[in-house]
């Protein structure tokens, strides 16, 4: 994509936290650009709760970032009952959305993997 650097930065600055994470997975060009530029995003706050067999992450976004009605959501990383896999859920007020099941590894590693990505793509507050 042959877009000037300033224009790309401007677009990335408007897409929001969740879209940036998804864009990062589309191709190497976007991934390198996002990791390099660290666009300003609308992530406001993370609250992490660690339990015996789960990690709960509450994500708070700026109100214009995700959509008008939903500016926060909760993700839960859990050990699966068979102990050889882990699961990720998104929790809403009115229900639960299953996101992913992976075999092998620990749920805590999956959480730290995602958490590292989130922290890596932040800028200092000025």
């Amino acid at each position: 994509m042959d877009m000037p650097h300033i224009v790309m930065t401007k677009i990335m600055g408007n897409v929001g936290f969740l879209a940036i994470l998804n864009l990062r997975k589309t191709c190497k060009t976007f991934r390198n650009f996002i990791d390099d530029v660290k666009p300003i995003n609308d992530l406001k706050e993370l609250r992490i709760t660690l339990g015996h067999f789960y990690v709960k992450v509450e994500v708070f976004l700026d109100k214009n970032g995700y959509d008008a009605d939903r500016c926060s959501f909760v993700s839960s990383y859990q050990q699966a009952p068979d102990d050889n896999s882990w699961l990720i859920f998104k929790l809403y007020n009115d229900g639960v959305e299953f996101v992913k099941k992976m075999d092998g590894g620990e749920f805590i590693d999956a959480f730290f993997h995602d958490f590292e990505l989130i922290l890596k793509n932040q800028k200092w507050l000025t």
């Binding site: 000037p4 224009v7 408007n14 929001g16 879209a19 589309t26 191709c27």
Partner: protein, 177 residues
């Protein structure tokens, strides 16, 4: 009804001033298309404004402006946008230059969202080369809005990005991080 909370912060379009007779000049694209435009519309582009000022300062007759890095189809879109906004107060674009939450007026929203993504990218790139702040702002915001709430697959489709296994020198094994 109470006014919207943020409406007071948004710069309002100025009332049209009594207009001077239109001064029309020819504009030539990189592929040789010649279009006509009002000078007031062209002044929205800082690049073209500097060129026009150069001609005026030297009292040289301005017959044709050459835009060497924009093709005819895109230049027509740029001129259409500039024609619509030629009466705008330049302070509006300046005020929104570094603002994060940009409000796109309804005409601009309709104008930009009807374009295929490829043409929209060309239009934004042209606006960047010609330094048209308002068009860059609205174009970038439109692209960003179209990406919001989409999955990775939908974004690949939207931006015409090949699937991971079709992309050169990439490993799909590490693609999910």
């Amino acid at each position: 009804m109470a006014p919207k909370k943020n409406s007071a912060k948004r710069p309002q379009p100025s009332t049209p001033k009594p207009s001077a007779p239109a001064r029309i000049v020819k504009v030539q694209s990189s592929d040789g298309h010649i279009l006509q435009a009002d000078v007031r519309a062209l002044l929205l582009s800082s690049t073209l404004a500097a060129t026009i000022k150069g001609y005026d300062d030297e009292n040289k007759p301005l017959e044709k402006l050459e835009v060497n890095n924009v093709v005819g189809f895109t230049l027509k879109l740029v001129l259409e946008w500039c024609e619509k906004h030629k009466e705008d107060d330049p302070a509006i674009a300046q005020a929104e230059k570094d603002k994060k939450n940009i409000f796109i007026p309804s005409w601009d929203r309709h104008f930009l969202t009807k374009l295929p993504m490829g043409n929209l990218f060309d239009l934004i790139t042209a606006a960047y080369h010609l330094d048209i702040t308002g068009l860059i702002n609205y174009g970038c915001k439109t692209v960003a809005n179209s990406a919001k709430g989409k999955s990775t697959e939908e974004m690949r489709e939207l931006f015409g990005i090949p699937e991971p296994w079709e992309q050169p020198s990439t490993s799909t094994a590490t693609w999910d991080d």
